[in-house]
Amino acid sequence: MDLGFVFGQSITQAIGVTAIIYCLAAMGVNMQFGYTGLLNFGQVAFVAVGAYSVGVIVVTLGLTLWLAIPISIFASVVLALVLGIPTLRLRADYLAIVTIAASEIVRQLVRSIALRDVLGGANGINGKMGQEFHDLNPFPADFELPFLTYTRQDLWVVIVGWALIAVLTLLIWLLVRSPWGRVIKGIREDENAVVSLGKNTYVYKMQALILGGLLGTLGGVIWAVAKQSVQPDNFVPDVTFFAYTIVLLGGAARVFGPIIGAIIFWFLLVFVGEFLNQAIQAGWLDFLEPTDIGPIRFILVGIGLMSLMIFRPQGIFGDKKELALDGR
């Protein structure tokens, strides 16, 4: 049993590429759900839009990444409008139903045989994506510390990714403490009260939906650039629910919530997985096969998260007093 390796893997992944992608998706969910009270259960569709925009523009069409990014932003805004226009005037639950359905529609669409030439069907799109970005990589070699190992390529993505998250977090922090932020928090508490004070809540909800979706889309762009491959089955509804888990873990409506949430979530997931793996190899758990690790680690992490919600329901950063106001 090599505990050092287990730790090293866990830490590497906890601040690695995947954590960055999920952190961005969760920042979007935090904007929509945490601050505005919008139940967007289709965040994964926004991530997919980002990833597939890069895949299609760069690999299928052979154009540059710098064109793919603005197009992904445009597509993301269009998706938010399509989802928001019919639902945001209705009761809150309609958005939840429409978004979860839409995210599955997007996944079925990108894997459809009819569109295989453009979107790659079930195999997705594989190939060099974002060469322009990787060409800017200033690092000469792979990165190796006792507990932290990245390939040269991942290191560049990780540094740029966290820098981007830092900047976006600052922007979001400014947003939510401004009068604009006051309006969206008011909408979360009681939309009609805010309407009665003369605010066009529909516009604010739409802005929050678009903004949150854009954060997810950025995660998708990073996905494509870092993994050089986008496949339809990467974009299952689980991604959305992991993003919600991360938000609740860190504490809803806290600017640093998604960051800490994503780090802890991936640390736990990888740690449990690697630990089980090592334990099986060491012959401690003879009744298990290596293929059991996947499900079991989710069970264990699930139990861990449930205990967290029981003993610290407000999340890491949340304020228990504030949460108690809800339950009346």
């Binding site: 922007l171 604009w180 008011g186 508490e189 009346r328």
Partner: protein, 301 residues
């Protein structure tokens, strides 16, 4: 009348003008701020509201009373755009309001509160208040990144909010979450918050429900104060003493219709009103003080 010793100039004016008005349902007023015609709202078979004609005099404090389920709250919802009538037209300051979105109605100066209080729980009391201010530059999404554009306005708003909170004895609570307030305090907050919008007509749905009697007196003074500052007040209330105390004019609803109108003293003596409230065999007065309103012997309260 108990409060007549403290009547301000606008109160006197309103009562003088309304003194000339006939006491019957749907009567026209000399200077109406709000006029509604043939407003009907059905829920299934039930006509919750069926108002042929009603006017609210500018600068007055008008009470809308009626037994439970009479349709008062529904009237508020319809006139402010929170609910849509099956038919009907109404104007505010001469502007047609049918089909106008509720946020626009509020911006036009017609602001309502809710019978079931809507405190924004996880916002502080002060933030609840600030939210009421209109035309805030910082409420534009892009402006939030340029605080210098709205800092000074935010300070003005905060000063105004504190002033109002002070008037409602809520200033010590400004940093608390609104969700931690008591029911009566929420009523106060909601009323103060509505005033932040700067309404020309403020519509209060049972502002006194759950407010302690000691505070009721000062609240009555606030409502009179609102009117003296030039606003019109339309309020729903079940407490007949309070209605008697502060209103210049009373509109009575029962089963969706307006059944009587007039000054409080007159309306409360009206047999049809007492019938509507108490049914045919009434032995109780509509107010505690009761003198003019007891309709049969044995009404003691």
């Amino acid at each position: 009348m108990a409060a007549s010793d403290r009547l301000g100039p606008r109160a006197l004016e309103a009562q003088a003008v309304l003194g000339q008005v006939e006491n019957r349902p749907g009567v026209p007023k000399p200077d109406p701020i709000l006029v509604a015609d043939d407003v009907v709202r059905r829920f299934g078979g039930l006509a919750a509201v069926d108002v042929e004609h009603v006017e609210v005099q500018r600068g007055s404090i008008t009470a809308l009373i009626g037994p439970n389920g009479a349709g008062k709250t529904t009237v508020f919802n319809l006139l402010t755009g929170f609910d849509t009538p099956d038919s009907g037209d109404w104007t505010f300051n001469g502007r047609k309001l049918a089909g106008v979105a509720p946020y626009k109605v509020a911006r036009l100066g017609m602001v309502r509160t809710f019978q079931l209080t809507k405190a924004l729980s996880r916002l502080t009391v002060l933030d609840n208040m600030r939210l009421g201010a209109t035309s805030q530059r910082g409420e534009k999404i892009w402006a939030s990144w340029l605080p210098f554009l709205w800092r000074s306005q935010e300070e003005e708003i905060t000063t105004r909010a504190r002033g109002l909170l002070d008037r409602f004895s809520m200033l010590p609570k400004e940093a608390d979450f609104a969700g931690s307030l008591s029911g009566g305090q929420r009523k106060l907050l909601e009323m103060a918050r509505a005033l932040m919008v700067g309404p020309e007509l403020i519509m209060l749905d049972e502002p006194m429900a759950g407010v302690n009697p000691a505070l009721t007196q000062s609240l009555l003074q606030h409502i009179k104060g609102i009117r003296e500052e030039g606003a019109t007040v339309l309020f729903v209330e079940h407490d007949m003493d309070m209605v008697h105390d502060i209103s210049d004019w009373v509109i009575v609803m029962a089963q969706g219709r307006i059944i009587a109108e007039g000054p409080p003293g007159v309306v409360m003596k009206d047999p049809s009103v007492i019938d509507a409230y108490l049914g045919a065999h009434h032995t109780k007065a509509l107010t505690d003080s009761g003198e003019s309103l007891t309709t049969s012997p044995g009404g003691e309260q």
